[in-house]
Symmetry: C2
Subunit: 251 residues, 2 copies
């Protein structure tokens, strides 16, 4: 099928032309994306559209000034949202007990499926997208900038625009490394080395190791890009933020 | 575009014919789905494929005996997985500090994007899928059944097969209810009532209210389907499970 080729070769696009996305197209794609599956058809998510140069500029440092934030046509911030549902319950004389870990996770999944469905639709329409991995790091500040009320947690940011130039397709681990038949198979050290061998052998991987004065690619990931101290510090910030804005009853 | 019609009218399929999915097709679709975006190209997920009738039967009660579990061709359990990455780091003399909330969330997003990319591919190939919202409820027991090691958390279960009969398309909230321009707009009570009016007016909604002897649709959601006591009890179980298998250092 023609469509398979798109999925197998899709790529992240970080550089965009100055062409703006037509507002009607954006709304239509978001509308179609909202038909993605979700928990109990409760749609526990919202999306904030950032279009203006000033607003993008204000958000840029919260995403560590990744250039795609100011270079995109629109920045979409997909949020977990139990606020709207809670207001509906309040209007309907119902007690919504959604301020807990299970519903946080359910809403995080639904928000992710909605975002990914939009990503696919946008790509199929010739747009390019880039997920920013930084949203949960600076969730409190992003929430403040976007005026999010309690119960609304920024989860995923996506920059969107018309692609400027070609972007490289990412390779992935061999699918056998990801799929387990019947039950989880324990990897042997030899299997682990084989799974990552092709990624380690790439020119850019060797370059990353050299640039960072490391001896293995795993060290680049675990010690330079996603070091324990950073992960733990941002986890504490996020937990504190969730405790004050989402887990209102201390669940 | 032809593809828009699929996205706007896609539906969840819970009943399947006895036709089995060709193993090569399943592997190909999972492979293509793995090209979905993910954090730092670390692919912090795994998927367990359950095919045999005995294995499905064993998992069925953990999904509250939803009929699609035993009626599907394959049951896929998509898991957060920092185990494989951690083993690679160990083999590579790197310290992986991923046992914390930030990486749990990042991996949960990546797992969700991978699952949704598979869901879309499967549907485009004529298969039908149904997400089960029950995976995180019984995560400890599902982990035991699938022999998941520490660092691997079952997150999403998807039943897959060839559709038996027609399934109804779900309606969704008006897209204006989900999208916010520039910043989050506070809903007025009148806006909330308008947002949910069409859902409340549906015949099946009225039937749910009557069957459950409730007076509003929100009460059916918040007090019958997803009641506070259940959400909170399952949240405690999940937190305890994460503390013992994922947050190994107490982050």
């Amino acid at each position: 099928m023609e469509i398979d080729r798109y999925f197998a070769t899709r790529r992240t696009v970080r550089r965009y032309t100055s062409r703006q996305i037509e507002p009607e197209l954006l709304t239509r794609l978001l509308d179609e994306a909202s038909h993605a599956p979700n928990t109990g058809n409760m749609q526990l998510y919202s999306v904030i559209v950032t279009r203006s140069a000033e607003d993008k500029q204000a958000l840029a440092p919260l995403h560590f000034n990744q250039p795609s934030v100011t270079g995109c046509s629109v920045l979409l911030t997909f949020c977990i949202d139990i606020n709207r549902f809670g207001l509906w319950c309040k209007e309907s004389d119902a007690d919504a007990g959604f301020d807990n870990l299970q519903m946080l996770l359910a809403a995080a999944i639904d928000t992710s499926l909605f975002a990914q469905q939009f990503n696919t639709l946008a790509e199929l329409h010739g747009l390019g997208c880039c997920y920013l991995g930084t949203t949960a790091y600076n969730a409190p500040q992003i929430a403040e900038a976007l005026k999010l009320p309690d119960g609304v947690v920024p989860l995923i940011s996506l920059t969107v625009g018309y692609p400027d130039g070609d972007a490289p397709a990412s390779d992935r681990l061999p699918i056998e490394a990801i799929v387990h038949e019947g039950e989880y198979r324990r990897y042997t050290p030899a299997q682990i080395r084989e799974i990552y061998a092709s990624q380690e052998a790439r020119d850019d991987s060797r370059q990353f190791i050299a640039e960072n004065s490391k001896s293995t690619l795993a060290q680049v990931f675990a010690e330079v890009r996603y070091p324990r101290a950073t992960n733990e510090a941002f986890s504490k910030t996020l937990q504190k933020y969730l405790d004050s804005t989402f887990y209102k009853r201390g669940n």
